[in-house]
């Protein structure tokens, strides 16, 4: 209980004092996870839309597979990415291990299946609704895609935000591939793990509260942006 209160106090203190280290760690967290989610969305949303629209023999299995991958353990992703990018690994020559870039790659892999799955579901729902109309109006396959992505943008946004939530809160993968190096690859989650292991519970909790505030704030800002658009247009 004392730790919890201490955590609140520490978080307040950290926020008010705008600690430099804290600021860089927070910005790095945002940079890594937002970049990962933007890339994952660019990959995942078209795939989700395509899956919703295409008559594919094994579609059910593909979707079951993607849904299974949503539960991909970050540690395992981290391990696989580590092996790929380690000096002896196939991509070792790139020298990316222990850089924010490889952290982005790992989080992108973690977020993509989630984004595919949720966007598939959202697009599918609209497709079921629109199908007859779009076929009647002779919309081409690309026009159908465009229409569903445009009119399903709210569902797609939810998909991206879910991906962001998973990425920003994830510690297993970035710890392994990033190494939690001070001034280089330390982010909020890895810093929390470190402070906890050092026994600095209040400080760790303070970081934890900031992580939560960050996740909620990003969600609220983006929802707010879309809301205003939605009430205006729909």
């Amino acid at each position: 209980m004392n730790d919890l209160i201490g955590g609140f106090r520490e978080a307040g203190f950290l926020l008010v004092s705008l600690d430099r280290d804290l600021l860089t760690i927070t910005l790095r967290s945002l940079y890594v996870s937002l970049t990962a989610v933007v890339i994952a969305s660019c990959i995942g949303i078209p795939i989700g839309a395509w899956l919703a629209l295409t008559r594919l023999a094994g579609r059910r299995y593909v979707i079951a597979g993607v849904n299974g991958l949503m539960g991909l353990p970050p540690v395992v992703v981290g391990l696989l990415v580590y092996i790929l990018f380690s000096r002896a690994g196939p991509l070792g020559v790139l020298g990316l291990l222990y850089t924010p870039t490889v952290m982005i790659i790992a989080q992108m892999i973690i977020a993509t299946p989630l984004i595919i799955s949720i966007s598939h579901q959202g697009i599918r729902e609209i497709w079921d609704d629109y199908r007859d109309l779009l076929l009647s109006l002779n919309a081409t396959k690309w026009q159908r895609m465009g229409t569903l992505i445009r009119d399903g943008r709210y569902a797609l946004l939810i998909a991206s935000l879910a991906g962001f939530g998973r990425a920003i809160g994830e510690v297993g993968a970035i710890m392994i591939v990033g190494g939690n190096i001070d001034q280089a690859t330390r982010v909020l989650t890895t810093a929390i793990a470190l402070e906890t292991s050092k026994g600095n519970f209040a400080f760790a909790l303070g970081l934890g509260f900031i992580l939560i505030i960050l996740a909620v704030a990003v969600n609220m800002v983006i929802h707010g942006l879309v809301r205003t658009e939605r009430t205006a247009l729909w």
Partner: protein, 238 residues
């Protein structure tokens, strides 16, 4: 404009679903003029027949032959579904949508859509979301959206089934106007009153088969089949 899309010759057309015959075989000629009304009780196959004619449900066997080639034919017909499918957009975007699909620029499409909305008394709704309109207004919008591409023929599946009397009358007079300006109308209904008011020609459908094709006046005065006689008398037929 090039040659008219009609007449349409339907020969031995059948529709199956999961191995069961839902419809046919149907032989029918659809002429360029007038309003053709398909009547029949619930489940007789009206929806299936309209979808088949429009090309939404594939033929199991038989043929549809339009007076123009198939690609042309696809572009010059429209469909209004029983429960209107509204794009989750504004009324204006719903109206411009078919034009934009055909490559018309957005500014020109908007000008045309706005002018078109006037004819349907939809102007005041243009900036509103289509989903917030009442049932009758949605159906009117669906009709306007179907007509904005100037089709030669429009299919309507029980367009007034969910509407009150006033909305029904409004749709009916819009349909009559549309027909007098040269668009063929093929409409299904289980409402005999509506069939009497609108039809030039009647197709009576029962259990997926055409039991009678006749001029409206002839059909209502002296139906030939026993089933049609019973249907007109309001009996429940099996």
């Amino acid at each position: 404009m090039v040659a008219h899309l009609l007449p349409l010759a339907v020969r031995g057309a059948e529709v199956n679903r999961q191995g069961h015959r839902l419809l046919g075989p149907i032989d029918l000629d659809i002429t360029p003029q007038g309003i053709l009304v398909i009547i029949g009780p619930n489940g007789s196959g009206k929806t299936t027949m309209l979808r088949m004619l429009h090309g939404l449900d594939p033929l199991e066997s038989g043929s549809l032959t339009w007076a123009v080639d198939e690609n042309q034919a696809r572009l010059r017909q429209s469909f209004v579904f029983q429960s209107p499918i509204m794009l989750r957009r504004t009324v204006l975007s719903n109206l411009t949508y078919p034009l934009m699909l055909r490559g018309e620029g957005s500014r020109r499409a908007k000008v045309r859509a706005t002018a078109f909305a006037g004819r349907f008394q939809l102007e005041q709704f243009l900036p509103m979301s289509a989903g917030s309109l009442s049932g009758g207004e949605q159906q009117k919008l669906a009709l306007a959206r179907a007509l904005i591409s100037k089709p030669d023929i429009i299919f309507l599946d029980e367009p007034c089934a969910n509407l009150d009397g006033r909305a029904t009358r409004e749709i009916e007079s819009l349909l009559q106007e549309t027909n007098s300006s040269g668009t063929k109308i093929v409409l299904s209904t289980h409402d005999l009153g509506q069939a009497r008011r609108l039809a030039d020609q009647v197709v009576f459908l029962l259990n997926g088969c055409v039991h009678e094709i006749a001029d409206s006046a002839t059909f209502f005065a002296e139906p030939k089949s026993r089933a049609a006689t019973q249907f007109l008398a309001g009996d429940i037929i099996t």
